[in-house]
Every structure is written in structure tokens, then in C-alpha cells.
Symmetry: C2
């Protein structure tokens, strides 16, 4: 199985309203709810691709219960979330029917106690031994030490399990030093890490900081990958319109599934870019359009060169 | 015990954000949650006044579970909510720290099936026999017949239990014809019922439609009561500033508690007006400031005249 870690899980709620106006009262016409947090989105895409996935991280309170109930109903996904006393956060996306704009309200989420963090680490070290790959995804909740991902990367490497890290800021800076197999920053995260807004230079810098491979997601420009095997750019055939939330998570699922299926890098990148674009056109964040994925897959342009051995 | 009925229960969630801006992403700095719906607010105020209260209505889904868990923790309140398949609605009040303005998002709530409505009626007829008074509060959820309150008023009258109706629109129009002991419309609800924006005339008209007593809540002007015993106006001593949500529910609790304590009408009205003002100054909707209530109670001006027998 593939293990995905989401330390800052959420229940993602989407409200549709006619027009959002501050200080007014709104009747919500449609409510959708789904387990959220980057690692849970990655898990859903992996499961849809036919992989067995185990999800871990934290869940607590009434909202945590809803997240776990909904995960139980997702075929291919096994719930190994660790219970905490605090309540899992909700995020609310208010979609304006008139403009299509989204207004986001994010709850702060629970503070993790030292005992809860220890319980998680113990469970993680146990799970990682039976994983074919690990994805460490998203921000750190309050209470979790800023060097958390470095420790989790080292534990995966000690178990000889490939590990992908997808986070930002100081958590990424610390995590990268523990030498993860892949990191997948977007342009902003890369710039924050390296100080450079030039994608190729920043990607090279990020590799020097310790990542074995860096796959930068550059929005409409697709993916730029620097790996020990070579350097490639994967570009989707057309501009796609829709909701970009979750596009990075779909790319992570593409990279990880390609890794465990022993695909060559160009094929992994084509899959990741096609999944990413197919998630933008899906109506709901964190899902992808299977038909669009099939159509896009053969049309992603992958250019690059293999490294001299 | 006093029985309060809330057919459209809710979980009322309050978010504090720095400034609400459409299309932006917001970090919520504070989350509060409480059982909501008018009858549950009335019940909390009654319990704080020392009365035993039973609450009924509907509860379902994960949100219904949270409402019931929180009710269990409220001393003096007994939960007799009837389970339904649909999910209890959430309401979200987004309070802007900068302006103090509130933006409201209300979920639609579940549709009640005919079997669920029958189960409720059976439970209600059972509960009403041991009640000293009944309050029927708020709007009707989808699926409940528009004449619902008329039937519930008749069942209370058949059991010789005094019944207060606090609703609006067609539910009020139908309910009033079944001759409730008290109705407590606000100015807008009175105008909608009678077509008149002149409070005294509208209150007289509302009485002619079947209510034994009409207590109109007129905001800062206080309460205007037309009863078989006389006509009174109760006016709080000063303008109060704050959150008017729940002020009407506090007034209902004042009227009902005064009724079961056999207080004369002027004392009931003074209590209802003081509670209403003390709920406006409380930081959270559906609560009241005990100290403000104590200070205001002796300073409410009640003027009026007793009817010729």
C-alpha cells in the first residue's frame, strides 16, 4: 500500500450561494462535504487509479468523526488517523453562483499535544514498514515541532521506503535537509525556499538542499522535473479552466503511482500533468475527471534529456 | 416542566475574521458553536432562570448529534428531539472584527418525511400532558405541513396546557386560527400578518384573528401587550447596543416563565423586556447578561390599563 500523511486534516465544506454580500444573510442552496487536507486528496486520486492507500494524520471531535465516516465509504482507502482531543478543523468554500468566485473561511484546527505527537510517530513507524511509498503532505498543525517532516523523512529512508514531501515554508526547509526522494513545490513555495523566482535556477537550488528529485508544479506551464536520471518538462496540451484547488495533490498522486509502478520519469510526469489538468476541470476540488484524464494523457508534451550516467 | 418545540433546529456556528472580503481566503480566529433554533434559545434562557425545560423538534446526521451532545451538557434542559434521516442544518455567522458586522450563511436543513412528522406528533402529544406550558417556535422545515402549528396548538389546548406561538408568515396565519394563548410577533411579522404597519392597530387585528394575548416586540420601543386582562407597554430604560439576534427568544422565555409563576401581566412584561435587553448586550446570540438583567429589571417602565371586567 501507499501511505499518505496529513497532519492538518480537515472537513472541506462547499456552500453555493446566489451572491455573497458582506453583512447580508444568505440562504445556502447546496452543501457538499468531503474529507480534506492535501494527503487525503492524494489518497482519493490514488484509490481512483486502483492503488491501495492508507491515510494517517490526526482526527478529533465531531468533525473528525465525520471525516473518518466518509473515509470509510471511500473504496481503496484505509483509515489509520490517530485520535486527538481537539476538534478537526472545517474549511468552508463559499461559491458565488453569479461570479463563480470562491470565498474561503478556514478554521484554525486543534493543537496537538506532545503525547498525541508521540502516538502518531509510533503509529507512523509501524505503518511505513509495510508501505511501498510515502507522501508527507501539507502544513503542520500547532503543537507539532517544525522539524517534524525531517524526522518522518528519516524514518521512511531508514525503512528503505521512497518518500515524497509536499509542504512549504520552514517545514519544507527543514524537511528537505533530511533528503526526501521527491519534493513537489509550486512556484511560490520554490521562491520562498530558494529566494529565486526563476523556475530552473530555483529547482536546481532546491535539489542542492537535499531533495533527490524536485518536481516543480508551474500552473499552466506544467511540471519541471530535475532528477538523478535527467531533466524534463511536462506540458499539458491546452489551457484548462476550472478550480485549481487540488491540482497539486493530483500531481503528487500521479508521481507516487508512477513510482510504485516503476514507470520511467517521462511517463510519470505525463501522468502527473494529465491528472493535474483533469483535476482542474473537475467540478469539485480534490477529484479528477476520468474522461478528461484519459484524453489528456496521450497529449501531454514531455521534453528533456537523460543525464549522463 | 416547560416544553419548547423547535422544528427547524440548527447548530449555530460563529466565526470571527479580521475583515470579510469576497473572493479572499480568511483565517478564522475564533469558532463558537451552540445548539440553535428559536425554541432551543428559549429553553436555555428558561433553564438559566431556574425552570426545568424539555426541548423537542428534530435532530439528524452528524450536526444533529453535536446539537444533542451540547444539549446534554446544559443543566436544566432535557433533550426529547426526534431522530430524522436528514442532517440538521448549520448556520454560520461570520463576524468581522473590524466593523463588527455579521454575515450570515444558513444551510437549508433536512426535509422531514411524513413518517418522521407522525413520530414527532405522537411524541409531542405525550410530552404536552406533563408540561406546565408550551412554546412553539420558529419556521417550519420542508416536509412539515403548513398547518402544523394549528394542530400543535389544538393538542395543547385539548390537554389544557397554555401555549405560546412564535412564528411568521403562513405558519403564523394558520396557527393563530387555532387560538393560541399568546403570540409574540415582531413588527415585521405583525405587518405581514395584518397588512398594517401601525403597531396598536396591527396588534388589535392579530388578537381578533384568534390569539388570546398578543405581545408585539417592537425593538427599542419594547413590548406592546394586548391581553384579556388589559393593555400594557413595557419600555426598557435605555437604548442598548449589541447583537439583537435572540432578543425575541429571551422575551418569549420571560413571558412563559412569568406565566407558569402566575405573575401578573405587568411583571411578566417587565421581565420579558429586561431579558430581551440583557440578551442584546450579551456577546453571544441566544444568551443573556445576568448582571444587566438584574440592573434592568427594576427600571423597565410598564404603562397601561387593566380591562374593565
Amino acid at each position: 500500500m501507499i501511505l499518505t500523511v496529513t497532519l492538518n486534516t480537515a472537513l472541506d465544506i462547499t456552500y453555493r450561494v446566489r451572491t455573497l454580500r458582506p453583512h447580508a444573510s444568505h440562504r445556502v442552496s447546496e452543501v457538499t462535504e468531503r474529507p480534506g487536507g492535501k494527503g487525503l486528496n492524494v489518497a482519493r486520486v490514488l484509490a481512483a487509479l486502483g492503488h491501495e492507500v492508507t491515510v494517517t494524520g490526526f482526527a478529533g471531535g465531531a468533525t473528525g468523526r465525520v471525516v473518518q465516516e466518509q473515509l470509510t465509504k471511500t473504496p481503496g482507502v484505509v483509515d489509520a488517523l490517530v485520535p486527538v482531543t481537539g476538534a478537526t478543523r472545517r474549511t468552508i468554500a463559499v461559491v458565488d453562483d453569479h461570479t463563480g468566485d470562491t470565498t474561503q473561511l478556514n478554521e484554525p484546527g486543534p493543537t496537538i499535544t506532545p503525547a498525541e505527537w508521540s502516538a502518531f510517530q509510533e503509529s507512523y513507524e509501524d505503518l511505513v514498514t509495510s508501505a511501498s511509498a510515502v507522501a508527507l503532505c501539507g502544513s503542520l498543525p500547532p503543537g507539532v515541532p517544525v522539524g517534524a517532516y525531517a524526522g518522518l523523512v528519516r524514518a521512511a529512508r531508514a525503512a528503505e521506503v521512497p518518500v515524497l514531501l509536499d509542504t512549504s515554508g520552514e517545514a519544507l526547509r527543514r524537511g528537505i535537509a533530511a533528503r526526501p526522494d521527491i519534493i513537489k513545490p509550486n512556484a511560490d513555495e520554490l521562491a520562498e525556499l530558494t529566494g529565486s523566482h526563476e523556475p530552473l535556477r530555483a529547482t536546481q537550488d532546491a535539489r542542492r538542499r537535499g531533495a533527490r528529485a524536485v518536481v516543480a508544479s508551474l500552473g499552466e506551464a506544467g511540471l519541471l522535473a530535475l532528477t538523478p536520471e535527467g531533466r524534463w518538462q511536462a506540458t499539458p496540451p491546452t489551457r484548462v479552466h476550472g478550480n485549481p484547488t487540488g491540482a497539486g495533490d493530483a500531481a503528487v498522486a500521479g508521481l507516487l503511482s508512477g513510482l510504485v509502478e516503476h514507470m520511467p520519469w517521462p511517463d510519470r510526469l505525463a501522468r502527473a500533468a494529465a491528472l493535474s489538468a483533469a483535476s482542474v476541470v473537475a467540478p469539485v476540488a480534490g477529484e479528477f475527471d476520468q474522461r478528461a484524464y484519459g484524453e489528456l494523457l496521450g497529449r501531454v508534451a514531455v521534453t528533456g534529456k537523460v543525464s549522463a550516467a
